[in-house]
Symmetry: C2
Subunit: 598 residues, 2 copies
């Protein structure tokens, strides 16, 4: 699992050394470009604005303190906003490390940071409310919230906050694909409502599967693994029952699922085996994947390596079948090829099969006519479609990219200044950059086709004829395939953090860009867009690859693993030397595997 050292290094910087924060962000989060960019405007300037703007402070409400929300808060510099943060968690959790927390290789306290520490910035007016968002009222620009506290503090408390700008970064909940028995929805809602309490357990009594979203989830999983072993050692347990209890099933082959399976395998075979001699031998880890999902996530080499390594370690990897039902003691699967049904008795099942929609987000989507979608649709500036003062980022949103073919006429006529109906290549010179910026798919397409630039693309379609004239038909033909290059961004921490930083930067430069817009041409309208559209600066899924890669190739290697069998579930603190060692190990192995170029 030493993948975590990669994050830990980043996170420690992100966390312990405020002075390095920007550096850390460059490294772990925003990919750097945006950060450098956000520095373009000196801090002093912001204060100057503040003084003018103070009488009309704009209210910004941020929902959520995950990667997107926290990154937004971290990068917001303009003191001319009155910011309120509403979240059920008063801390930010470094989620890529959760699988390691489940087995105690990393401690919970090492992967969190209080929101108040993060927003504590000179001159910024940020208030944090520990509460759930119940409902977004886009019409009256209000958010209805509820804080649920222990009863002897006065019970639940409803309140409303007004906003001028709303930043929706509430993330997603685990996606069960409505598989029967994974979770009773009523209870699941309860979990998400009180996820900042240790009431979680109340809800989990009615769940059959565990998820891995919050730090508490990771701790609960750890407790349950130990529960299984304690139970297996009871005198009344039959051999068959023992087999069942010590059978751990992981559903889902994404980075989290893969890493957790590897972590769990280590934990069981190395740590628990020491404490529960009699029983550990019987334990099995079963990684169940709907399809070869790892292929979807990772480079083929890594997938192959993972599968081969799992087999070698005795992790039973099942692909090509789907889970159709979960009861309290059995999980039923259906072979996709043969349609044959099997049922597997288990002791604990961890469900990590991608993301689903939070009820509150779903309500909001219905309200704004997006009810048929899975996540909120935004434009390239992260504005929720249909409501311009609401922004959505992270796992609860996706960017609905504009198709070139939709705007093809507009683009053509923008280029054709004299409305001649035809264009020379020269005519394009002025608009090419705007086209590429407004429609990122164009550049990707050019790369794909190994064309130097847009002009070359057009030339290809002029055939042998040497005429320099392009008409609309030729233009359409040339761009007809460009939109095939559009891809949704993956729902990763990396993207969420980049979006948060990007949006904060837009807010920092709101007034400046009002006066001097810096975005591309408006092809349909007139003038320019205020900001450049959001770009994912590290395409692909490197973070996830590295994470899972380390999860796998470090199976069987740990920095420490003592004191693992007690219920509260923490290990000894990791020794600095071990940390350094793990960093070196990581670097060298990256080099060996040719992944050294990250």
């Amino acid at each position: 699992m030493s993948g975590y050292t990669f994050y830990r290094r980043a996170y420690r910087a992100f966390n312990d050394y405020p002075s390095l924060t920007k550096l850390a962000l460059v490294f772990t989060v925003s990919g750097g470009g945006l950060v450098a960019y956000s520095d373009a405007r000196p801090f002093g300037g912001a204060y100057a604005d503040a003084i003018q703007a103070d009488h009309k402070k704009k209210k910004v409400v941020v929902l959520g303190t995950g990667w997107a929300g926290t990154s937004f808060l971290k990068n917001l510099k303009d003191p001319s906003y009155e910011v309120q943060v509403v979240s059920p968690r008063n801390y930010f959790a470094f989620t890529p490390l959760l699988p390691s927390v489940t087995v105690g290789t990393v401690e919970a306290r090492s992967v969190v940071e209080p929101v108040r520490n993060i927003v504590k910035k000179k001159g910024l007016d940020v208030k944090f409310r520990e509460a759930e968002c119940l409902n977004i009222d886009a019409v009256n620009k209000k958010v209805h919230c509820r804080s649920s506290q222990d009863t002897n503090l006065g019970g639940e408390e409803n309140f409303t906050v007004d906003y001028d700008y709303l930043v929706v970064a509430m993330g997603a909940r685990a996606n069960t694909f409505n598989t029967p028995g994974v979770v009773e929805n009523a209870h699941f809602l309860k979990v998400s409502l009180v996820s900042s309490k240790n009431w979680l357990c109340v809800a989990t009594l009615h769940e059959n599967a565990f998820f891995m979203q919050e730090v508490e989830d990771a701790q609960r999983i750890r407790r349950t693994v130990i529960d299984c072993f304690e139970r297996a050692t009871l005198p009344t347990i039959s051999e068959e029952e023992k087999k069942r209890i010590l059978h751990f099933v992981v559903v889902g082959g994404g980075p989290t699922g893969v890493e957790f399976a590897a972590e769990l395998h280590d934990f069981v075979t190395e740590d628990l085996a020491k404490h529960y001699l009699c029983t550990a031998s019987g334990s099995r880890v079963n990684s169940h994947q709907r399809s070869r999902t790892t292929r979807f996530w990772f480079d083929k080499r890594i997938t192959a390596f993972a599968e081969e390594k799992f087999q070698r370690d005795g992790i039973d990897l099942k692909t090509g079948s789907m889970v159709v039902k979960v009861t309290d003691k059995e999980i039923s699967t259906k072979e996709r090829a043969t349609g044959e049904n099997r049922s597997i008795p288990y002791g604990m099942v961890v469900w990590s099969t991608g993301i689903g929609t939070r009820p509150v987000v779903m309500d909001f989507m219905k309200q704004i006519g997006q009810g048929n979608r899975r996540v909120l649709a935004t434009d390239e500036w992260l504005r929720v479609e249909g409501c311009d003062s609401i922004y959505a980022l992270g796992d609860c949103a996706t960017i609905n990219q504009r198709k070139v073919m939709e705007d093809i006429m507009a683009i053509f006529s923008k280029a054709d200044k004299i409305q001649s109906g035809t264009l020379t290549v020269a005519d394009f010179k002025d608009v090419i950059n705007d086209i590429c910026e407004r429609y990122p798919q164009v550049e990707i397409y050019l790369k794909e086709k190994q064309l130097k630039n847009f002009v070359e693309l057009l030339k290809n379609y002029q055939g042998n004829a040497q005429k320099e004239i392009i008409d609309i038909e030729l233009f359409k033909a040339a761009l007809s395939e460009v939109d095939t290059q559009m891809k949704n961004l993956p729902a990763t921490a990396q993207v969420a953090a980049q979006q948060g930083a990007y949006l904060a930067n837009c807010f920092n430069r709101m007034e400046a860009c009002e006066k001097n817009p810096e975005g591309p041409l408006r092809f349909r309208g007139s003038g320019r867009h205020r900001f450049r559209p959001f770009r994912n600066l590290m395409p692909g899924n490197l973070m996830a690859e590295v994470q899972a890669f380390w999860a796998i190739c470090s199976t069987g290697w740990r920095t420490n693993s003592s004191s693992t069998s007690w219920r509260l579930g923490f290990n000894r603190p990791q020794h600095p030397v071990a940390l350094v060692f793990s960093l070196c190990k990581q670097t060298s192995q990256l080099a060996h595997t040719g992944a050294g170029d990250i």
Copy 2:
């Protein structure tokens, strides 16, 4: 509160360096004598026995893994027993540090050790069952147990274990003196039944007060303190309500209560104040003591120092009144002197007013005719009165010392070998040591009266007459006041651990002492007692004194206090340097205060 460094040093040794374990025990736990003593018999000998005894292995069942039970297991060496440990916690908790865990100065993981680590000894046959003891059947020598696990592991599981020897070390539960509203008993039972689960929260929803017995309790208290602050920052909370929420009440002036009050004060004024600027100013800590209990526990100097320091720090110390009722938002007190009633609104109340009887122990006491007692009565060999193969130690038991005056005739006639009806001082020479060993109060009395020895005591009563003859009346007169020196041992970790070590040592030497009894003369019967009776080797309550002393004089000093405002509630790991520093600080201050002689 750097008192904890005292324990941490001890505990770390106890914990991290198995090789030092004995040393650590000498220091923190058994006071050394017993340990050295338990070494008297070489390990090899035990094996030799084992081989003979193997065909008839005696079944020993240990209930509980607190100080007493763990110390027993740690010191048991004779492999000729088949040991089963039944406890709801699969770890040992270093309880004196709990107050520090509540504020994150010490981390939970630092104060626990898995039972399996502790019992992992070559050649010993120890099985651990994570379960509650439901009922002790002394007639059939059975213990009925129930393991309560998460439902999807199969729910509750009842089983029975047989014993030849039963060691009852189940500790005590918090004592509410049946003050209405502190806790609903039904729920309280639930707490104690499931204390190894994170279900605790289910029960606490019905409690108004918090206790401090388990590590989970400490973590819950921490979460609640932070809850209070989060709630106080909500926009809808009135000033008055805020005052209430941020009013923390500690009931009980024992070491735990005092240390917790001091810890909480630091936590609130130093750490939380940083994060909750707006609110912290309003917060108050109120230490409520039924009477000047600190006097009962501590040296007067320390009590005075504590009270004075509390006042200086603005901890509102109330003495001489008693709590008569607790509701979800108010605590009602009655002045003892004036009888006047007051009610104090609070946000959180922590109840630490001594120990009460666990329901299962109470049932057992009724069963054996001790129903009118608060804790189990044992003889000086820790055998429960009325059932010879059951031993009880720690907080659930107390030693019922034999009065000299009860046995006065027997003692006299043992000394009077020729039954002359009178004795010379010389006649006593043979029995004096036995008397002093059998009736520890005699020695204490001699010290009190500053008499060199027993003979001198008798001489005092011979008056001027120089006759060397003592008759029964004179003898009675001489010893008449001895029994006033009998004291119950305090319910401390120190005593529990000493008893555990003592009993383990008796078990180690069972057979040997069967052949050559080493105890004092049986004055009523014939022959000698098999073992020496239990002696508290560190009379007084030094541990508690030092603990509380450090809690107080270190108020305002911490090794680290960052990252305190997030719900899971742990601090950064303590830096080694800080630890060293704190150790030096402690040593030097001990010297200053003349407590340097520990």
